[in-house]
Symmetry: none
Subunit: 232 residues, 4 copies
DNA sequence: AATGAATGAGGATTCATTCAT
DNA sequence: TATGAATGAATCCTCATTCAT
């Protein structure tokens, strides 16, 4: 199931080609739809070699998926760290932009990530999902905590709740660019990066405002006139 | 592609069994992974009958999927309409609760939706997904507009943006119950309905607050002194 | 295998519809390609009825084929008998024209006749082929014999040989109109009846001349200049 | 559709066996009737291998058919070229004899041709049949033209008409040996080669005479007095 | 180490036919 | 008599995987 040393020993550029082509095959067809036969033909190498390298279809997918998660988490972590000192809104905006950039630069990787999410009968699922979870939780939690510590957010805000919301919206924002039918009425398309940036800006402001406004008492008195909203 | 009259003519309880078992097969394996052979065996009927009933694997899936969408949309629409007069927060809470109820009552249906969402390049993907999206958008848009008209939300709030965020969070909230690894740090599990209800309450308040707090100018001047923030 | 009395008892126009549609199905798809399921659907009657009427697919085909042969032989026999007193060339021309007319009027029938010819593993083959053979041999032999008796053809002409050649060319002439790729360089198309008639005229003259010229000594001395051909 | 290199790489005798057995399967059952499953069983190899070799049933058929056409056209071309200097009658006789020889030597090939001719609406029908027709036309046209140029035939003879007749009779002559019920009253059977040769001799003389006798004016005046016909 | 021929289970689908209603 | 639901064998074809070379 694991990548064998045989694969490590072949020339680096061939390794790269194999993984790139495999990623494309999985991205285009999904795990079940992908075919080792077709992949071997794409690559012009022997079918046997693929099994020598990765043991099985699953083994190959594992390798491809690991790489995909690594590449995405790296980009996002960098965006987070570069904005460590900024207020929440610009940070979120930068993170959304980075999501845009990643999905544009590595569309195959993102599609594989998506396919993986709900692939229930996959043997290595546990391992993969823990990776994904860690990515999203460990990545956003510091952003929220730092904002709270800096006084930008109410101290009684539940950080888990905030991370949950941010994660959901961030995920959907990226997804909506890869899958236009997800964009609902928003201007989000791979063809118009500028529109995506404007939407990211508005979204970041909205999210930051939401968290800042979060009140400890869940449901405020009805009819409170907006003008004298105590939160403003 | 369409359900034939043959299927309409068989006993209702047999119709039910066929659709239930088919839903389970698709939920467990996804579209590509599902097998008409296996399904026929599960049902103890001839393979040919399935094709008589539904024409093709796609035809069967279409039937199952349409039913699923109907069942979910019905529940959500009801939740929305029953709360037509209430303020935003309790409405959202009720909608989140309804999502919880639906995913618990029809886990297979939700699993099929998930499979479709990210998973496979099956033939009718586009048609089905746009159906789901339209459902969700048409469903949430009135909620936002009514809240705005009632003065609960700022008049310059972009409704599409608000719907986008609500949809993303609602989706994730339901997903997190079907897939506990998605819950991040939140208390959300199919085993503890009470916890889910508490989380729904907090989440609804957070979202309502977000929309209320939304400012017309997307990104406020960076230097906004936090000092005069009443929340401090 | 035989048409049952059940079929004889249904309304005549329904009988007609069933046989017409069946003929079309067999003509379009061939025996193996034809589908009883599809035919029943075309007719809008129950599958079971077809089997009640004809016992089996083969039984239905037998019925259709018998009808086809009857209709063709009837037309040709009539053409022959109407021209009983004429010289050979006009008789052949009239027969060729009748072939043209038949294949234009009943294209399905002709296509079925063709399909039947080489359908080796058909159980009723013997019976069918004897019908076809009888048709062609019994039909043309009198034409040749009468021409010989009337002194139009050399008395030592082998009638079987003459019938063989006439049958081959007549068959091909009709076939070439049903299947244009068979026409080689000749002007023969279903769209242009006049061209077919001209070709028939030339062909009839050629054939009549051939038979008239037939010499008892098979291979004439080489180089014999045509001008002093002893046969003229 | 094309034969893959996989097939080229297996031992020659296995290649031969596969093609021979495939030819027999198609000859016995026709294109639709032939079964890849049955063929694999006949050969004692895996089903998958056949598809590796030829891609599809059509691909296999194309290979078998191309081989068949090649083998037949080669023999006929040789017969034609060997008799380039001879008068028409002996040339035709030699060609008829070669037809006899080919159908005896490769009965399966001829049976496949027959199946294709009239039988089925299989996918590549048009392509294959036009190939066969072109072969036959291109093959006979030079024979006719050379005879005309050598003064053996009237210069105003329509070559297309002559080729049409020759082709029809040649075809039927060969067919009559493969399918005795087609022989009408002629002595033509696979069991008695000598009888076939005698018939070929008579037929060749008849055909040569036909062409020689062909008059420029298609239909001679009906009243032509038979009394001065030297043949009487 | 790499190859690629061989495998045979399994895929979706169509079919002629039967028989209870 | 007519129906049409049920059957399950057979169709072509693809697949991941193995293993002798």
């Amino acid at each position: 199931m694991e990548t064998t040393s045989t694969f490590q020993n072949i020339p680096t550029d061939k390794q790269l080609r194999v993984l790139t082509e495999a990623r494309a095959e999985f991205a285009e067809r999904g795990f079940l739809g992908a075919s080792m036969n077709r992949l071997a033909a794409r690559l012009g190498i022997a079918k046997g070699s693929l099994f020598k390298y990765f043991g099985s279809k699953e083994g190959l997918f594992a390798k491809v998926f690991d790489q995909a998660v690594d590449r995405f988490s790296e980009g996002l972590r960098q965006a987070r760290d570069e904005t460590a000192g900024l207020p929440l809104a610009p940070r979120l905006e930068r993170i959304l932009d980075e999501g845009t950039r990643l999905v544009r630069q590595h569309p195959d990787i993102y599609r594989i990530y998506l396919k993986m999410l709900n692939h229930e009968d996959f043997p290595l699922r546990e391992r993969f999902l823990s990776k994904v979870r860690a990515l999203s939780t460990r990545f956003l939690t510091p952003v929220v905590l730092q904002a709270r510590d800096r006084g930008e957010l109410p101290p009684d805000l539940d950080p888990d709740l905030a991370v949950f919301v941010l994660d959901a919206v961030l995920d959907r924002f990226v997804l909506a660019q890869a899958e236009p039918w997800m964009a609902a009425g928003l201007a989000l398309s791979l063809e118009d990066p500028e529109a995506a940036r404007r939407t990211a800006r508005k979204l970041a402001a909205l999210l930051a405002g939401m968290l800042r406004a979060n009140a400890p008492n869940p449901s405020p008195p009805e009819g409170t006139p907006l003008g004298i909203d105590p939160l403003r």
